[in-house]
Each structure stands twice: as C-alpha cells, then as structure tokens.
Symmetry: D2
Subunit: 208 residues, 4 copies
C-alpha cells in the first residue's frame, strides 16, 4: 500500500512545525511511505498537493497540521468550504470569507476511520480525540481541497487530515507532546487506516 | 420585527441551563421577542421548533445552547449534518453517526452576521468569538435542522445559533460568565442582526 | 472605614491593565476608598505602597493585579518570598531567585476573608475561586511585601491580593470578563471584608 | 546513590494514578531506586513516608502526585503549611484550614534543582514547567511534611515533589501524557538531581 503523508512548513513566527518534523520521523511498518512538505500558503499548498496526486497513485493520503494549544492528536472529521485567515499566510495572503472551491459543497467528511484511529491511539497510551473543526486557515483549506479532489478526481483514495499539538520547545504554557509520540501516532493512524475497512460505531462527538 | 429566541432545558446532570435562563432574562429594546424552551432531545427538539416556525412568522430566529468550558459568547458559523452523541440525550437517545436530515447537504452556514455580532459584543466589553463547530450533540442538531428549514421552507428568515458559557454556579474551575452578561449579549446579538444587512469583512477565523 | 485599593500600570506589551481600570471604576458603598496605581517594577512598587501606608492610616488594603488567562476573580491565599521574573519588569529589571525581603519568612497568608469573598462573588453570579499562587513576578512581590509590612509595621491592617482576568479587548482566545463585572467584584470583596470578622470554614482548596 | 520515589494510590474516583504507575515503570540508570506507594490519606501518608525515611538512609526523596488537567510535568517549588480539602481523602477525612504541622513555618522551598530538571525535560522533548503551587490536598500535605522532615531530621536529604499529568485513559478532554513519557521524565529528574549540585540561574517564574 502506498501512503502519502504531508506536513507544513513553519508559520506564525514558529521556527519549526511538528506536522512536518513528525511526518519525516515516521518509520513505516508494512506500507510504503512518501512525505511531502506543503507551503503554508493558500492555493499554492493545494497546487503542490494536486500535483503529487496527479503524478503518483496513492492508496491513502493524510495531511497533517499543527494545532497549537490542543492537548490531543486530533483526526479531523469535517472540512468546510471557507477561507477566513486571522493572520496572513507565509506569502502574505489573507483571504476573508472566500470559498476554498467556488460552487462546491459547503463541507466534506473525512474518509479516514477517525474513530478507529482515535481508539488505537488511546489504546497505545497516546492522547487523542476526534475534532469537528479544522479552523478556517491553511489547514482547513488543504483538508477541504484534498477532499474535493477525492470527490471529483480520485474516488479510490482514502483521505483526511490530522492536527497535532505543539512540541515542548514551542511553548511555555500550552499543552504539547514529544515529537516521538506524535510520529508514533502518525504511523498508528496509517496502519489503522490500512487495516480498517469500516469505522467503529462508537460515540466520539463533542457536546459543543 | 419579530424575533424568536430558543434555549434548552438542563442536561448532562446540570440543574440549570444558561441558554434558557439568559433567553428569558432578555429585555427586548426595539423589537418583539418570543422565547421558546426546547427539550434536550434529538428530533423532538426540532419538532417543537418546526411547529413554532409554522404557526408564526418570525424575521429572526436564534437558537442558543450551553457550551460548558468555553470562555466566550460564540456565534456559530457552520452546522454539520451529523449526530454523534457522546452521552444520551434527556430521553435516553444516543444516535451515532446518523444524519440530522437524510440526503441533505453536509453543512449549512449561519445567516446571522456573526462577525458584526462578535464585534458588537467585544465593543461592549463582553467576551466573544466566532466558533466553527457546534459539536455533534443536540445543539448542532437543532442548528442544522433550523438552517435546513430556512433553506427549504423559510427563505426569508435570518437564523443561526449562539453558544454561551456556564454560569459561575455550574462549575468550580471552568470559565463562566454572569447570567446578566449573557442576557445582555443575546439582546446585543439580536439588535446587531436587525441593524446589519451585510456582515463585516473582517477576519475572525481560527487557525485550527 | 478607610480602604486602599491598588492596581498596576500595563505590562508585558498590553496597553491597559484591568487591575487599575477596575479599581478606579469602583463606586464605594459605605466606605471611603482611595486608589493608588503601582508601577510594574520590582522594589519601586513596594516603595510607592509603603509610602502610602506610612502617610495615611487605612483599615483595609487590597492590591489587585492582572492574571491573563485565568477565568475567575481570584483572591490569593499565600504570598511567597521569591522573585523569579520570566520577563523584565517595566524598568528592565529581571531578578532571578532573589527574596522579596531578605531573612524574612518563606511565605505569608492573606488576612482577607478569602473564602467569604469568593462565596459572595459566586452568590452574585461572578466567576470566582481562591488561588494558591500569585506567581513569582511583580504581583507576588507586592503581595509579599504588603504582608510583610502588615506583619512588621501595621498589625491592625487587613490586607491581601486579588488577581483579575483579562478584559475582552486584551485577548482573542483566553478567558476574560467585562470590566464592569471586575469593578463590581472589587466592591463586593471590600464590603465582604468589612462585614466579615471570621472567614468561612468551607473547603476551597485546589487538589493540585 | 539511593533514591526513594513515592507515588499515590488512585483517588477522586479514578481507577489508576499515574504517579504510582510511572514510578514503578522507571528503569533506574546509575542509581539504586526504591519505590513506595502512599495512601491518599492525610496524616497516614506522612506516617508511611516518615517510617520509610527512619528505617533507611536515602540520598534523594522525590514524591510524585497526579495533577489532573495540567499539560506539563511540573516540579513543585514551594510547599505550604495548609490543609484545605475540597473533597474527602480516601479515608473520608476532609480537613479545612488546618496546618500540616502546627507551629511550623508557613512554607518550605523544594531542595531539588527544579530549574535544571525542567530544562533537562524540555531538552529531551518532554513537556515541563516549574509550578508554584501543589494545591492544598494530600499532595501538598505530603510535600510539606517531607520538607519539614528534611528541615528537622534529615538535613542531608535532597527532597521535593513532582506533579504529573493524567494518562490518556483517564480523560476525554483534559491534557494527558503517555505513561512511558512520564516514567522517562521521572528517571531524568532523578538523574539531573544526582548530577546537579547548584541549580540553574534561569527565570522560570510564572507571571501570576
């Protein structure tokens, strides 16, 4: 099985981005792994991703992003067709209330088994929870664009997005995880996806 | 202008629900206000709401729910077509991974001016932020059902959902707000909605 | 009864400090109130406070400081004889591991009725909790210095420290309270102190 | 070098306590380790600890406790002479506003190199921060009692307290760490203590 894992370059004044550092630290076990760094730039990130998908056939694509302040590894459940950038991206773009893809659906669900992945992480002693928002910045942009590509051009592909916490060197007060834990989590998410055809039927929804 | 404000009955072991207590504490200024308590029950909550909308013509409908742990008054931006109940509702139902409305869109955006409302609250010294998830419990269920009713039967209606924090008596450690502040916030949201035809073009999106 | 309420000037890049803005917004009811702004500077803050206490006889002195990120009004229980400045103060001083007062006790308890104050705030619908650390920056410095002055020179004085949350304009994500709520809280803390000779015997300790 | 590491039995409705589970998971490297489980009971916990210290000569004693909700491994800096139990302990005791040791100092500082330990943890990619409050429950009780024993009977002993986060199975929303990370952290704290005669002179104080 061929898996593509994408991470982002650093943004928002950070010198590192655990989404990329963890992606390249994954030691694949039982699958073939390609990694791809995406620029933290609206549109350009999606062009880089689309190009990768058009030149090689992957079975699973998982995009990973940094969620500074979250304590858990969070597989995202839903991507929204909205750009609303609180800060400029790395190229200075700051789209406000534009669609990721004009005239496309308001939202897409992930096609990863987000519940099985979360259960596998928790069973391995790794903090994890399903999330219902990827925000409205470049992470959600890539997630939505990826799911639109799946819906329109790559129907065989299983795809989704995972947010990961800061590493300890990035923060003084906010929650964080060792990079090795995050890398281990990404491998476990990939393996769980490859081994799971039907997601678990367990409640993981948030109350609000 | 005729406004309907809904709040919920208590749930999850709480004895009060600030969404209802604040709704009935609103002193309307320059509009006519009706309040309606919804049961914290899947489907039945939407039947009660649908019945109210079918028997009286409102200009604005705002549903309000409790978001225990949030520090801000949060106008919600997007409703998702998903029920995934972590806990049973007040009638013992616990739907997992069912749609709110079968064969309907994955999500709807609020048609309230969520940015103008948030700006008005902040200008009044009240903690506020736009939220991009209403969860997957009865709050999101009502929000999605409401927006679907607007989309399919009440196109003139401006509608949306607002989550409010705990009151101080509900928690020892979590953020909370005085009930009078929350009631003042709801009045301000209503007035801002009535006075705003075009929402602000300012970034309020979260990074994740 | 004569009450002195001190607040701080802004620090850490903020343009306002709710401890001062709320102090001057208090409308005293049944007592005489003096307010005093302290510089956010080690030692100089205590000289200003000591001078005020030596030139006028107060019955109660309450110092107030900003606790960015806390959701509650927090009467502090214990002051520690330690300066450990994570950031420079407003004069560029950054003491590390020095005592506030050499050869003095490791800590002093507040002599305010912190439990009665917290109970009064909660009863008024205002978020409140007793805190067991005022940190190691200028707030704790002033609190310790004040209690040392009480212990050594002003034994009749009832004194303590209260931390207050951000106002909504100071933050996008952190908890905050309306300034009017914080001002109301300070008045209530003063009145409760004046009316309470023996603090409540209720548990308010944190588990960690 | 002989090291004693204590952890607690579960409390507050939890079925496990990571302070104990991590303590027994430590694989000592270059020192001799004894582990001791303390009951989560006022006074009795200190009797068990005192007995251990009187029957064997240790060089270092570190007590460890669970701090549910904290994201970091937190070496504690100061113990306070105060019991104020929000909940009953495991024997049903609920002391309110009693001293740990009557007529003893208000507080003691840890004699562990808390800054060197925190720096070593962060350098190893483990979330860590110095804390300035151990609360007012059994953790602070044991910490204060331990430091009083050091001050009065075991002056050669280096001693202190470390709070550790939940493990992922204990919580759905709160921050947590893998147990293996916490065990690795405890070993690193012990080794750093043994290798450090003079603590670092770096600021780690909190602002409030």
């Amino acid at each position: 099985m061929e898996v593509l894992l994408t991470g982002f370059e650093p943004f928002d004044g950070q010198r590192t981005n655990p989404s990329w550092d963890a992606a390249v630290a994954v030691r694949p076990t039982g699958y073939t792994l390609a990694t791809l760094q995406l620029p933290c730039v609206f549109d350009e990130s999606l062009r880089v991703l689309e190009n990768a998908l058009s030149t090689h056939r992957y079975d699973v694509v998982i995009s990973v992003g940094q969620a500074g302040g979250r304590p858990n590894i969070t597989p995202e459940r839903v991507a929204v067709n909205l750009n609303d950038a609180r800060i400029p991206d790395n190229a200075g773009n700051q789209p406000v209330d534009t669609p990721v893809v004009p005239h496309a659906p308001t939202a897409y669900f992930s096609t990863l088994p987000v519940k099985a992945c979360t259960a596998a992480l928790t069973a391995a002693g790794i903090p994890a929870a399903v999330s219902h928002t990827a925000g409205a910045f470049v992470c959600n942009h890539v997630f939505y664009g990826l799911m639109h590509l799946v819906a329109t051009e790559h129907p065989h592909l299983r795809a989704g997005f995972v947010h990961v916490p800061f590493t300890p060197d990035q923060t003084q007060d906010a929650p964080s995880l060792p990079l090795s834990t995050t890398a281990q989590a990404l491998d476990l998410i990939i393996r769980t996806t490859l081994e799971t055809s039907q997601d678990l039927h367990t409640p993981t929804g948030t109350l609000h």
